[in-house]
Amino acid sequence: MGIEIVGVNKSFGDFVALSDIDLSIPGGGLTALLGPSGGGKSTLLRIIAGLETADSGTIEIEGRDTTNVPAQRRNVGFVFQHYAAFKHMTVAKNVAFGLEIRKRPKAEIARRVAELLELVHLEQFAHRLPAQLSGGQRQRMALARALAIEPSVLLLDEPFGALDAKVRKELRDWLRRLHDGVHVTTVFVTHDQEEALEVADTIVVINDGRIEQVGTPDDLYDKPASDFVLGFLGPVTTLGDRLIRPHDIEISRVEQAAVVDGPITRWTRVGFEIRLEVTPIDTRYAPVQVSVTRTEAHALGLHPGDHVWLRPAVGAPSVVST
């Protein structure tokens, strides 16, 4: 089941936001749409929710064709980056909103709201106004509000984007645990690769309105389909004519079969990590960034200025640089 997206196109004037998107999002999973800003991932999420209409293509949610169903009747929970709280209503009223629209009995609404507030740990804030909550609390309220209608899918648009780094990390872990408990098909948009790698079951990398790759975090990290995916999931450097991660380079002080060799021209220590720059003797090649741990550097007896030989570590993913 889940969400089936077939042949979706969307343009805003001359700008092509999405071109020919085919995507199957598994039911019950936690899927991340990952990519740079302006790449089309939020547009795709809004099309799934019905907040935006595709120029062409179809959307199916849980086996039901919703392409022409208005947002009001898609039964989709949507969480916005900036909370979109109903400012004049208390936290409890915010959460109850969707249920009141559905004209559920008062007692049932009260019970459900209490349950949800407990789930998001806001029981004691039920009678506060959103303005009296912190950003993280507001976002948890928004999540409870979206979950209240028992949505068939939960969509989150950069849900932690407006929060500071520490709260973001906490909420990220919390979302993962919440999902393990609730099991609703969840899709979230993020431009933070760490967030996607850490939380998602499946990652969809979107760039320039196209899907670059779909896979598990391990797939994406170990078998990147393009230089874009490799580059987006962390730092990369050029070794000869291939892109590779700086920590996937084998470095040696003694002559050996190597792609390039040259002196260590820069040496930066960041905590346990040492970042080196090696300028190849062969001037056709660009300087290479290599990252080693302090322990490794000690074991190899590396010093700034040493002449070293570089080659990819065994099994390291790399792609041809374009």
């Binding site: 929710a49 019905g50 907040l51 208005p70 947002a71 009001q72 009747r73 898609r74 039964n75 989709v76 929970g77 949507f78 916005f80 900036h82 979109a84 709280a85 109903f86 400012k87 004049h88 209503m89 909103f97 969707g98 629209i101 559905r102 740990h121 004691q124 912190s134 993280g136 609390q137 928004a142 509000r145 979206a146 209240a148 209608i149 709260v167 906490e170 909420l171 872990d173 919390w174």
Partner: protein
């Protein structure tokens, strides 16, 4: 345990030791003093004086003034037309504000500026414009001179910007995302309006309506030319005050003034209560 869950609540926070009642620093105290003095000279003392003058004549003058059929009719007309105009402004002003904030169209900038003209125009100039447009020599063939419609028209003209200008900034702050959130929760456009947008706008609509009503009951310059000031037909309260003064009867003039003042106060309180209700029951 997740550290997010253990944020301090109001009750666990340490209370500050009790301080003396006033928290004013010296500069703040001077500011407050200057403010109160200024406010007193300009507002409180004149208000007190007018009430005193009216009360000076005793209840007799009040009753006599109110009992005067011409005066009662003038006050009635003023309040009626001001209420009517305020009602129209609440609807039209909110609509115009919505169009100006949410829609993009050719000539929007020009409209933004034109809206303010009733503010900027000297009222007697407005009166002149209205007279030439809707008077006996109207190019439109609409002659409302010397009727109560002329009062309505003049008030409509001068109070147009109040609600628009009060609602606009609040509407700009209202994120479209909030409406999308309501929609995704299943709310129809009408429900979203009634439960989300209207409660957010209510305080600003009320404050615009208060200003519009207050201006309405006090208007003089813009309607005095067109209305012809016919007793029992188109004479308003401010004109009545003027003629009382002309006839050397300041006590009666003050009595009318105090009545207008009371009506204005009642309007402010009522509109505030309505807006609070709408906001709370969103």
């Amino acid at each position: 345990m997740n550290p997010v869950l253990t944020e301090p609540t109001g009750t666990t926070r340490r209370r500050r030791p009790r301080q003396k009642a006033s928290t004013l620093s010296r500069p703040a105290a001077i500011g407050l003093g200057v403010g109160v003095t200024w406010f007193s000279i300009l507002v409180l003392i004149p208000l007190a004086l007018i009430s005193f003058q009216a009360a000076g004549g005793g209840w007799g003058v009040f009753l006599e003034t109110l009992g005067n059929a011409q005066t009662a009719s003038a006050i009635g007309l003023t309040v009626r037309q001001a209420l009517l105009v305020t009602l129209v402004n609440v609807v039209m002003g909110t609509l115009i504000a919505w169009v100006l904030v949410r829609d993009r169209f050719w000539g929007k900038r020009a409209l933004e500026i034109i809206i303010d003209i009733p503010f900027a125009l000297p009222t007697i100039v407005a009166g002149l414009v209205l007279l030439s447009l809707y008077g006996p020599e109207s190019p439109l063939g609409v002659n409302v001179a010397n009727t109560s419609h002329s009062v309505f028209l003049a008030l409509l003209f001068v109070t147009l910007p109040f609600v628009v200008r009060a609602v606009e900034p609040v509407l700009m702050e209202l994120e479209p995302e909030v409406e999308e959130a309501a929609a995704s929760l299943g709310a129809s456009t009408f429900t979203t309006w009634r439960r989300i947008i209207l409660p957010s706008l209510a305080p600003s609509i009320a404050s615009g309506a208060t200003l519009s009503f207050a201006r309405g009951i006090s208007e003089y310059g813009s309607l005095v030319l067109l209305s012809g000031n016919l007793p029992f037909e188109s004479e308003v309260a401010s004109v009545r005050i003027f003629s009382y003064i002309e006839n050397d009867n300041p006590a009666a003039a003050s009595a009318v003034a105090v009545i207008l003042l009371t009506v204005a106060l009642a309007a402010i309180v009522t509109l505030n209560l309505i807006s609070q209700r709408v906001t709370r029951h969103g």
